[in-house]
């Protein structure tokens, strides 16, 4: 589904991604772990081109999306993204948060979009919040709504950048639960997280990133049981 070739990203003199190549297949649940500053967010943000790669090539379903002529707005419709800080639209209520993009991009009529939104809200048990505004919700509620806001676009792929890192501990579970269900439904997912339990349980592959490269890649079982590189061993000894 996504083929990444020798992806590099520099911010001025700072080399953040130093040649990443990877192949994400349909239905994969890729979990990315690594120390702070290793470039995980930058990698994720390059996938939907919120960051423009310095060099390298990314193709999505056969289309070269790093081509300067690529239609980013169209491509991004197919890739949902969930942020650490939720980023619900503060000026819109929950229903409008979910329906804005599908309606404005003429993917659904307003009626359809609202119907879908209510169905999605029902699924996460927040139907009664449809007319509430983001400021009145808990972090866990915001993040679950952010997830269904992306789902309302019927994406082919979902990117998660530390979706539970800004949450109070008691709210982490409810968000991971929604992600788990999504994974079970067959969604292709790329997840940056510090939740090793989730990585082990849901991941089809776990990647370890450090200093802008993928240092190690393996199935969750192997990844956690038999880390090969010293850097990963060191990392795991700190986080487990």
């Amino acid at each position: 589904m996504i083929i990444i070739k020798d992806l590099r990203k520099e911010f001025g003199d700072l080399k953040v991604l130093n040649g990443i190549s990877y192949h994400i297949k349909k239905g994969d649940k890729i979990v990315i772990v690594g120390p702070s500053g290793s470039g995980k967010s930058t990698f994720l943000r390059c996938l939907n081109l919120l960051e423009t790669p310095t060099s390298g090539r990314i193709s999505f379903e056969g289309e070269i999306i790093t081509d300067p002529k690529a239609d980013l707005n169209r491509i991004r419709r197919h890739m949902g993204m969930v942020f650490q800080n939720f980023n619900l639209f503060n000026n819109l209520n929950i229903l409008d948060n979910i329906t804005l993009a599908p309606v404005k991009l003429k993917i659904k009529s307003r009626e359809e979009a609202e119907e879908d939104a209510f169905r999605l809200l029902e699924r996460i048990g927040l139907k009664d919040k449809a007319s509430a505004y983001p400021y009145s919700l808990s972090g866990g509620q915001k993040q679950r709504i952010a997830i269904v806001r992306s789902l309302a676009m019927n994406p082919k792929l979902m990117l998660f950048d530390e979706p539970t890192s800004a949450l109070d501990p008691e709210m982490v579970g409810e968000v991971l639960e929604v992600m788990r269900e999504l994974a079970n439904d067959g969604m292709t997912m790329v997840v940056v997280t510090h939740e090793m339990g989730f990585a082990r349980e849901v991941g089809t592959k776990v990647l370890f990133m450090d200093e802008g490269v993928i240092v190690e890649e393996n199935t969750p079982e192997e990844f956690f049981a038999h880390p090969k590189s010293p850097r990963l061993q060191d990392f795991l000894s700190k986080v487990l």
Partner: protein
């Protein structure tokens, strides 16, 4: 005491002078209103231009021009701008109100532009990123998400700018317009008595500004009630 009452009488009542003050006030408000509208329009356009970036993140030509405009206006006294407008740029115009409104509007636009620019930049970057990640275009994201949030940020300082504007118009006497300040000054020199006309003018300005402040306060409170942050 009789002297006092006499001076009051001469400053305001003799020959229906009080009407002059109100005519002056009318002119003050007229210039301020036109200038405020013009300043809002120019300021919005200048702010959007100023924020313009090319796709590789460089400033656009529009951004450069808007930057120069803002710099020049803020770096020169408004009296000088008014005189330049009156004696040079529009020297053939006899419509003082028009010239003054234009001059103050162009002046105010620079300050409004900076207010709006700051208001837009104060909206969390994550809001834009969320919009773009859903496939909304730059313009759609701005229109539906960033702009509505920026409006809330800028209303209080814009209100303040309007208040400043009303007071700033006190210099239109330089181009022979009989605003409140000039009327008071004229009455003072005609009656050889400055106290009542000038204090009178000050009181009228103060009341107007106070009313504006109260109005803005109500507006802000109403906005805050529906504030969703």
């Amino acid at each position: 005491m009789a002297d006092f009452a006499d001076k009051f009488q001469r400053a305001f009542l003799e020959g229906d002078r009080w009407k002059l003050y109100f005519k002056g006030l009318g002119l003050t408000l007229e210039v301020a209103l036109f200038a405020a509208i013009l300043g809002l329009v120019i300021g919005t356009v200048a702010a959007l231009l100023r924020l313009g970036k090319t796709n590789d993140g460089k400033n656009t030509v529009g951004s450069f021009i808007a930057g120069v405009y803002i710099d020049v206006i803020r770096g020169t006294p408004s009296v000088v701008q008014l005189l330049i407008m009156w004696f040079i740029i529009m020297k053939n115009s006899t419509n003082g109100v028009l010239v003054a409104s234009l001059s103050f509007g162009i002046n105010s636009g620079a300050y409004v532009a900076e207010i709006i620019r700051a208001g837009i930049l104060a909206v969390d970057k994550g809001q834009t990123e969320a919009g773009r990640s859903l496939g909304l275009s730059k313009a759609q994201t701005f229109l539906y998400i960033v702009f509505p949030q920026a409006v809330k940020n800028v209303l209080p300082p814009i209100g303040n700018e309007f208040i400043v504007l009303v007071k700033e118009t006190a210099i239109v006497g330089y181009v022979s317009l009989s605003d409140l300040t000039r009327v008071a000054n004229q009455v003072a020199s005609r009656t050889y008595e400055a106290f009542f006309p000038l204090v009178g003018a000050a009181v009228i300005y103060f009341v107007i500004i106070k009313l504006m402040t109260i109005g803005l306060g109500i507006l802000e409170r109403r906005l805050r009630k529906s504030d969703h942050h």
